[in-house]
Symmetry: C2
């Protein structure tokens, strides 16, 4: 009949009631209370009722920390996002939603988008005993991560890379995006289509990504001229929350280059909202109208595009879907470490047609052609 003592009871007046309290009051064993609360079939309905009643009465809440301690499982998953991802908080919202749905909570950490701070945050998460990790890494220390993954820690990556040999990852299909963006312009009669992309060590699949553009052009029998391809250079000074590539200023520069070309492109495929915004800003300076003079389509569109004037056509990156999938993946791995896990998911975006693209004007088209010949 002897049960655990609670010598410090009076010291902590705000203490929540525990299983022990209920057990004591009911003159029953703690394990009985526990099983009742877990609705175990091994407990009689009568006992369960009594336990539930008391639990309700005293507002019993399981102690998350004690539970985590005893089970050696926190039901928390850590998420590491680079600062630049601030623009993609839908991803996080989706992660959280899916995770909550499956009984997990999410610890978020924003990194400075550099190796050191990323590594530090990851370690912090691990110290906090997260059950799994979602990492949006741009400067990955693969050696470290490889070790972690091999040590059994469930990690899912979201990266612009196409191949991560040792861990599951999710990525956005940039090749596909460039293809349908380009095809969209072609379908509107554009022939002189420029291409603006980022160029960085981060994006090693860049050569593959541009294939979407090349292929579409070739298939349509259109010639490709290198001078219509512009690679954004990383900008040295950026505000917090921006990355060095996809920022307004770089769009401005791209515009300055492209709008000075002769003949001028009639359509532009550009990566990302901010670059598109910069292009629009640049067009104004050149007194170029969009879409009357130039059509613009973004191959990696977020929420900004629909707030620009004109609203920009683009291939929408499926942030929400990404988030849900990320959460699903880690949790699947956590809960069944041996289950076969598809290594890489390549998510496709969807073309949303807005006001920045339109059919090439006959006049213009003819004029351009005459110039060529």
């Amino acid at each position: 009949m002897k049960t655990a003592q609670r010598p410090y009871l009076q010291k902590t007046p705000l203490r929540r009631v525990t299983q022990v309290d209920i057990a004591n009051e009911l003159g029953v064993a703690v394990s009985t209370v526990q099983r009742a609360l877990a609705n175990s079939p091994r407990i009689s309905q009568k006992t369960k009722r009594k336990v539930f009643h008391l639990a309700e009465k005293y507002g019993y809440k399981p102690n998350f920390i004690a539970n985590a301690f005893a089970r050696r499982k926190t039901n928390m998953i850590g998420t590491i996002l680079g600062k630049y991802a601030i623009n993609h908080m839908e991803v996080f919202a989706a992660i959280e939603q899916e995770a909550n749905h499956r009984g997990y909570n999410v610890l978020l950490s924003i990194t400075d988008f550099d190796e050191q701070s990323e590594h530090q945050k990851v370690m912090q998460m691990i110290d906090h005993s997260v059950d799994g990790l979602i990492i949006a890494s741009a400067n990955p220390r693969w050696s470290t991560y490889k070790e972690l993954v091999e040590s059994g820690l469930p990690i899912v990556f979201v990266t612009p890379f196409v191949d991560i040999p040792f861990a599951p990852a999710i990525t956005y299909d940039r090749e596909y995006a460039n293809r349908i963006a380009t095809e969209h312009l072609i379908s509107l009669g554009h022939k002189l289509i420029a291409f603006v992309d980022t160029d960085s060590i981060c994006f090693t699949d860049q050569s593959r990504s541009i294939r979407g553009y090349f292929d579409s052009m070739e298939q349509a029998g259109l010639s490709i001229d290198e001078k219509y391809i512009y690679y954004v250079k990383p900008s040295p000074n950026v505000l917090p929350g921006e990355n060095r590539l996809i920022i307004y200023e770089n769009g401005l520069k791209a515009g300055e280059y492209l709008f000075s070309l002769n003949p001028r492109p009639t359509g532009i495929v550009v990566e990302g909202d901010a670059l598109a915004a910069g292009l629009i800003g640049s067009a104004r300076k050149f007194n170029i109208r969009i879409p009357e003079d130039v059509s613009i389509v973004s191959s990696k569109a977020g929420r900004l595009l629909s707030q620009l004037t004109p609203r920009v056509t683009g291939v929408k990156e499926p942030h929400f879907q990404m988030g849900r999938l990320l959460a699903k993946r880690v949790i699947d791995i956590i809960e069944n470490a041996d289950s076969p896990v598809e290594q890489m998911s390549i998510l496709k975006g969807e073309l949303i047609i807005r006001e920045s693209t339109r059919r090439v004007e006959q006049r213009r088209e003819k004029r351009e052609e005459r110039k060529k010949n």
Copy 2:
């Protein structure tokens, strides 16, 4: 000499080393190891060295969960943000930075911006034993929160309300923002200045907020005409991550109204990035040039403004400062529950002049005046 047994040692091969392991190997008490690790002055250098050495050798990491369990303190603070706050992730980044700096971690939860989901998320956080809470609430269930605060849980709010009687809060000074935005236009010679604001149960201090506009106008001897004041109505259907008031479409509507007025305002003070963006979109439809025909200034500016064309002048909401202050506040309360806590901080923004505002053209100004007389 007898120390704790580890019967399950072999069952968990990936187990991290514990203080007990070190104590055993050193033939010393656990508490000694503990004090050594805490660098207590009560331990001899020699012992400390031995302990540190072993800890290093075995890669000892304190077990966060066990620690939290024993101390009944998690060093985690929960943050509840409404979906709309997705645009303000700088706030979160700042919270995290400050919190980490002081040895805390941050649990984030995104709510659907309604009472129910907010309440649920708060409770979830509490179940997870956070030490304190930061709540960006727009539909606060004050009665619930009052209870929580009175029960001793450290909570800091960030709200558009000016008064929360029972808890510390941080808010953005909208009256001040409207004042300097209006004054900016006045200083550029504008006389016919329209005012676009939100109108909702959320924003009960609205009447106070508009005073910034009224006062400036009166001080400048300018007349105020109600028809130049436009209140945004909540939009029924919004995308995730948007709130019902400050969205592009509502800016469009505001523009449709204002740009049809006769005489047309030469300057507009508008709340928020999205409304400003909508105003610009609307201006295009009316073939109105910004800033040549109409100047626009936002009284609650975020990061979007500088990506619009033209880049919009605005009073920048100090997101980063807010975040740091929020974290500082909760932690101060957590660590010294009795310390006097300033109840409300009202943060002021800073005017950033960009391209959407300019001096009224003489011609135009004269014409408007003639019309009036």
